[in-house]
């Protein structure tokens, strides 16, 4: 494989609280290759959004980046000055934040908001041609050029946000739950748009989400996060065929099937206090297979080419899902 465009190593982001630090993201490491889509999946509170705000250096007080490095095309973002970092955002690294479509400015025309993004970062106002070209890339009709956000449906607004993200030809786009508030058919259309944009521009994407079903449809590789830690990274095919970490298995099982009625599998949520994670494996308190050995710290290790997992018993627990 080619050199990764984004290399995240040991990234930790903590939030200070009166009773100790919440370890929102701890020791996250992963690569993102050119043209690849990486899914970052986990339930709420698993640190997936925090990890990306660490990458973008958008962690606000009382949070702080504790350690790690984020290399984009060989440049460590965490060592840049604020001004240099500001220039990196949008031009190299674009974010579609959670609920982006609801944060469009209701008093500004769609076209003006897109050209604003371009002007702030290039100093040049965007031409009508450029805006229309962006519209076309995300499948928006020309006639919305002069429209306001309230005149568009959710799916269209979400596509406007995608157009803004690609306006400056970034090499990496981070999409945080970009399709989660949409109806299934609209979600499919937006997902389709993102895939098309990715293939046309050759950008890399990080898709944050909680829906394993959508991950199966959309991404090339999946990183599963639990309580601030990445517990498994694998290609999407391996992840669904041979999930190795017990938590990945639970996440995949919790997607209800449409082809066969099964008894519900009931699991609890994150059970430990995020300020005081257990010694050793992060998942041990919820893991159905926890043993004495799980009290040892778990490092990510490769169990087959391209599949890394933070579970000491991965080989024996791994299952074939066919």
């Amino acid at each position: 494989m080619s050199d990764p465009v984004l290399k995240v190593r040991n990234l930790s982001v903590f939030y200070a609280t009166p009773t100790g630090d919440v370890r929102a993201t701890e020791e996250a490491s992963f690569d993102l290759h050119p043209g690849e889509t990486l899914g970052l999946v986990g339930e709420s509170g698993s640190g997936k959004t925090t990890a990306t705000s660490g990458i973008l250096r958008m962690v606000s007080s009382p949070g702080r980046i504790v350690s790690g490095s984020v290399e984009l095309d060989g440049v460590d973002l965490l060592k840049l000055s604020d001004e240099e970092m500001r220039r990196m955002r949008w031009t190299k690294l674009a974010l579609i934040p959670q609920g982006a479509m609801n944060s469009l400015n209701p008093t500004m025309k769609i076209s003006a908001q897109i050209s604003d993004v371009i002007e702030t970062h290039t100093g040049q106002p965007a031409t009508r041609e450029r805006v229309l070209e962006l519209f076309q890339m995300v499948g928006l009709p020309e006639r919305i050029y002069g429209m306001y956000p309230h005149e568009l449906s959710g799916g269209m607004k979400q596509r406007v946000c995608i157009a803004m993200a690609i306006a400056l030809n970034p090499s990496v786009i981070i999409a945080d739950e970009a399709t989660s508030a949409l109806d299934v058919v609209v979600q499919r259309v937006v997902a389709q748009t993102m895939a098309k944009v990715r293939d046309a521009l050759g950008v890399s994407m990080i898709m944050i989400g909680h829906d394993m079903g959508l991950m199966a449809q959309m991404v090339d590789r999946v990183a599963v996060m639990y309580a601030g830690r990445i517990v498994e990274i694998a290609t999407v095919a391996d992840m669904f065929a041979r999930p190795a970490h017990p938590y990945s298995q639970i996440l995949i099982d919790s997607v209800p099937s449409l082809t066969e009625r099964q008894p519900l599998r009931i699991t609890g949520g994150i059970t430990h206090d995020p300020r005081n994670p257990p010694e050793g494996c992060i998942f041990q308190l919820r893991c159905p297979y926890a043993q004495e050995v799980c009290r040892q710290p778990q490092e990510m290790r490769e169990i087959r080419p391209g599949q890394e997992v933070a579970c000491i018993r991965a080989e024996e627990l791994e299952r074939e899902d066919a």
Partner: protein, 328 residues
Amino acid sequence: MLDVAQSDALLDIRNVSKIYGDPEAGLVALNDFSLQIPRDRAEIVTIAGESGSGKSTLANLVLGFTRPTKGTITFDGLDVGSAGAAQMRSYHRQVQAVFQDPFGSYNPFYRVQHVFDMVTKNFGLAENKVQAREMMEDALNAVGLTGDDVLRKYPHQLSGGQRQRIMMARAYMVKPKLIVADEPVSMVDASLRASILDVMMKLRDEAGISFLYITHDLSTAYQIGDKILLFYQGTLAEEGNATDVIANPKHPYVQLLIDSVPKPDPADRWKGEIELPAEEELRTARAKGCRFVPRCPHARPACSDALPPLYPVGPNGHRASCILYAPE
């Protein structure tokens, strides 16, 4: 389902329409809808559809929060559409609800116990405090919680899954005959949804409580639902047993919907590109004809003439409102 004799139905919704604004030209949120929930056996009836399909309107109608423009909703002989305040209170002893937002359902000012205190006091469920506390314990145990763990806490100190299970416990404590569950799991983490759906199945099987399960998520409906009704823009597109409808959808809209549910299988990805028609076309409240015409691959001129009735398309009352299935 219309063949169920009126006396057998617990909830009898007959030809109900809800129109906002002008009754002739206003927005039709629900169009000429009928449904009977039987008295003799408990069922989970799923009402599914996208946002704006009229499913929440139906929930509000059944709960008595809004009144139908046309048609009648009868529960156990009571006309819900014209009930007074006192009748409404006794009606709510029979029909309870669980809402989508498990946090918003709690008054942030009070401890969790407040939601139980309200029902015990207003419905006179218990004779004294000890008995009341026992009932709370009992209801909480039914959803896998204990009173000592949650009652003295404030809602923000609980997890989303716990909050929603407590809401189920609250509804259960009233011992109603029907619970309207309006998107009860859509704001709860995926791994926790099962615990709430499981409670619903348990209450159906063990306490004999029927559910009107309103959702946009077909997969959970498939897993726990007995009957399913699929709405499109205020009209009923297809109904039948949940397993029949989802395994073998007939209405073109329902086919598109089921095909668009992301399958957890990377080898079976979405095929073909779909396009949404222009906004204006979607938004016009169509006075007559099938609402799905602008998006339908099988549309023909006759589709725009009148809304097709529900044609039988399969066993167990599987019916679809589409002229593809009109008998010759």
